[in-house]
Amino acid sequence: MTLDWMALLQVSLVTIIGSVMIAALLSLANWLLAPLGEAEQPTPIRRVAGYTVMALMVELVGAALYLIAHQHVARLLGLSD
């Protein structure tokens, strides 16, 4: 039996890239939703962009969970072998 270096490398890369990407998306959304200068509220365009980025982040996390769970859930429900 050989050590599965590839799997270990994949886990490490997914962890680092995934975490930084999620943090970056939230930071970007946070920056977009923050008012600039003396303004009390962000402009409508920034607000739409901020919530779009947040939605993208949620979608990414949801897709990752789906990828992990779908085979097992399908197997439990008898939808595939």
Binding site: V11, S19, A34
Partner: protein
């Protein structure tokens, strides 16, 4: 003893281990969220329990690593698995007592390896699987999670520097979601370990009995649906019971965590645990989260990390595999003595040890109410006691303390009256209004002192120069107790104290309070 009875006992013990795993590791998901104020403690453990249950139903890769990869399931007997579970439970309880976030996963792996080595020899353990699926990830995972948390924290704080003050609120909201996802990942990873252990028992019992039962399992099989459900429920219940001692260490002991840091910790931990579970690595969630907490602490300022706690934890990590292995080996040796006497003896030892640890933990109890009050978890030393009767701190202390120590002072007769019971509750708005309207200074009646307000210092004289009635000797209070207001009947009359004895304080103690 019929094989069904042994299987039942071992499965129940496995569920107890799963319960201890839950309360031992509930801190992994929620400690940073609780210490950063994103969730209240009780709220946090309830949500974590639900997410653990869902997570336990999402994957079985790790379960198969344990049931068919780590040890040779043809050589394993239910007694060996039982001994392993006992060793792991004892180690979990011991580290919980110390507030040490050690790995439940390594505890069960170590105990299983120890038990199998004693009874089946080296042929029973797949050494290469131990190295590749357990030892190596144990070294790599905390490092990777720490690096990921370090970078994620840098990125998170980059936007806060220029942004609105509401940023931290947004990160706190994000942390609420990310901590739930860590709980989900924990269920996915750790819930499976018990499933794997139970499946291993079922396989070994099937081989030993040579018959097919409704619970039978063959080598290489995944867990039954009822095993998945039972393990998920056990870990969820354990999580809900809350491992407050470990939560204190994780949330406060290693570094002071703010919401953006908590978000970074949880995101990196969640990604690492889910990715590892997908590849079947028996990862320790405790190691991952601890590595991430240190990473985020280093990212802000290295001074923020409490290296003494981190060093203790590292020592605990190194010790877990061999210590749990020794416990498992000892239990396995004892369990196979006699026909079933050894088995029963191990069970009795487990129960007695668990009770002793519970009693010791009660001396310095950590609960949802005080989990964030301190960074220290105490075990030995003088037990915490409620504050002493404040008579020794007040104006009469020099006179009374030498003759009557605080612990021996008789309680005031009022302590058994409804008034004393009412003091346990904070006053309602109506009562507070009455207190503020009360003409205490004009009448000189002592009951209008505001001592009963929440937070009032009963040890100090109030603005009228009086101390709380229960803090004075009987003779003095009997003379000064009066109804609170004319329209409020006195509940303060002891049966043997005449109402007529009540006197205005100004009259009883000239020169005071007027």
């Amino acid at each position: 003893m019929p094989v069904e009875a042994i299987v039942l006992i071992v499965v129940l013990t496995a569920l107890v281990f799963d319960f201890t795993n839950g309360f031992h590791d509930s801190a992994n998901a929620m400690a940073t969220a609780v210490s950063a104020g994103s969730y209240r403690p009780k709220q946090a453990v309830l949500l974590a329990a639900v997410m653990n249950l869902i997570g336990a139903c999402l994957s079985t890769e790790v379960a198969q690593t344990i049931s068919s990869g780590l040890v040779d399931d043809q050589l394993v007997t239910p007694e060996m698995v039982f001994a392993a579970l006992v060793g792991a439970i004892l180690w979990n309880l011991f580290t919980w007592l110390l507030g040490l976030p050690s790995s439940s996963s390594h505890a069960i792996f170590g105990a299983l390896i120890g038990a199998v080595l004693v009874r089946a020899g080296t042929a029973g353990v797949h050494g290469w699987v131990v190295v590749s699926k357990i030892l190596l990830p144990a070294l790599v995972a905390p490092t990777v999670a720490g690096v990921a948390a370090f970078l994620a924290t840098k990125v998170a704080y980059a936007s806060i520097g220029r942004a609105h003050k509401g940023s931290k609120k947004r990160f706190r909201q994000a942390q609420r979601v990310s901590s739930l996802l860590v709980a989900l990942a924990h269920g996915t990873s750790d819930g499976q370990k018990t499933m794997g252990i139970i499946t291993l028992v079922l396989v070994s019992a099937t081989i030993a009995s040579g018959q097919s039962h409704w619970w039978s399992a063959q080598p290489g099989d995944g867990p039954h649906w009822w095993v998945i459900l039972a393990a998920g429920l056990a870990i969820a219940l354990g999580t809900y019971s809350g491992g407050w001692r470990i939560m204190r260490t994780m949330g406060k002991g290693m570094a002071d965590i703010e919401a953006p840091q908590g978000f970074a910790v949880e995101t990196s931990s969640m990604v690492a645990i889910l990715a590892s579970s997908h590849f079947g690595f028996g990862l320790s969630t405790t190691h991952v989260v601890s590595g991430a907490v240190i990473g985020t602490g280093l990212s802000r300022t290295p001074d923020q990390v409490r290296w003494r706690t981190a060093r203790n934890m590292g020592f605990g990590w190194l010790l877990t595999l061999p210590a749990a292995g020794l416990l498992g080996a000892g239990a396995a040796f004892l369990a196979e003595q006699g026909s079933y006497a050894g088995f029963v003896a191990v069970l009795v030892i487990l129960v007695l040890a668990a009770l002793a640890i519970k009693l010791l933990a009660g001396r310095h109890k950590v609960s949802a109410d005080n989990v964030t009050d301190s960074a220290e978890v105490r075990v030995f030393g003088k037990a915490l006691e409620p504050p002493a009767t404040p008579i020794t701190q007040g104006a009469l202390a020099p006179v009374l303390a030498p003759a009557l120590p605080a612990s021996t002072l008789p309680d005031h007769p009022l302590s058994a009256t409804p008034l004393a019971l009412a003091r346990l509750k904070p006053p309602t708005k109506k009562q507070r209004r009455r207190q503020t309207r009360r003409p205490d200074l004009a009448t000189g009646h002592e009951s209008a002192t505001g001592h009963d307000r929440p937070g009032a210092d009963r040890t100090q004289p109030d603005r009228t120069g009086h101390r709380h009635p229960s803090d004075r000797p009987q003779a003095e209070t009997a003379q000064t107790t009066t109804p609170a207001t004319p329209d409020q009947p006195s509940t303060a009359e002891p049966a043997d104290q005449p109402v007529a004895a009540a006197q205005p304080v100004a009259a009883a103690r000239p020169g005071v309070g007027v």
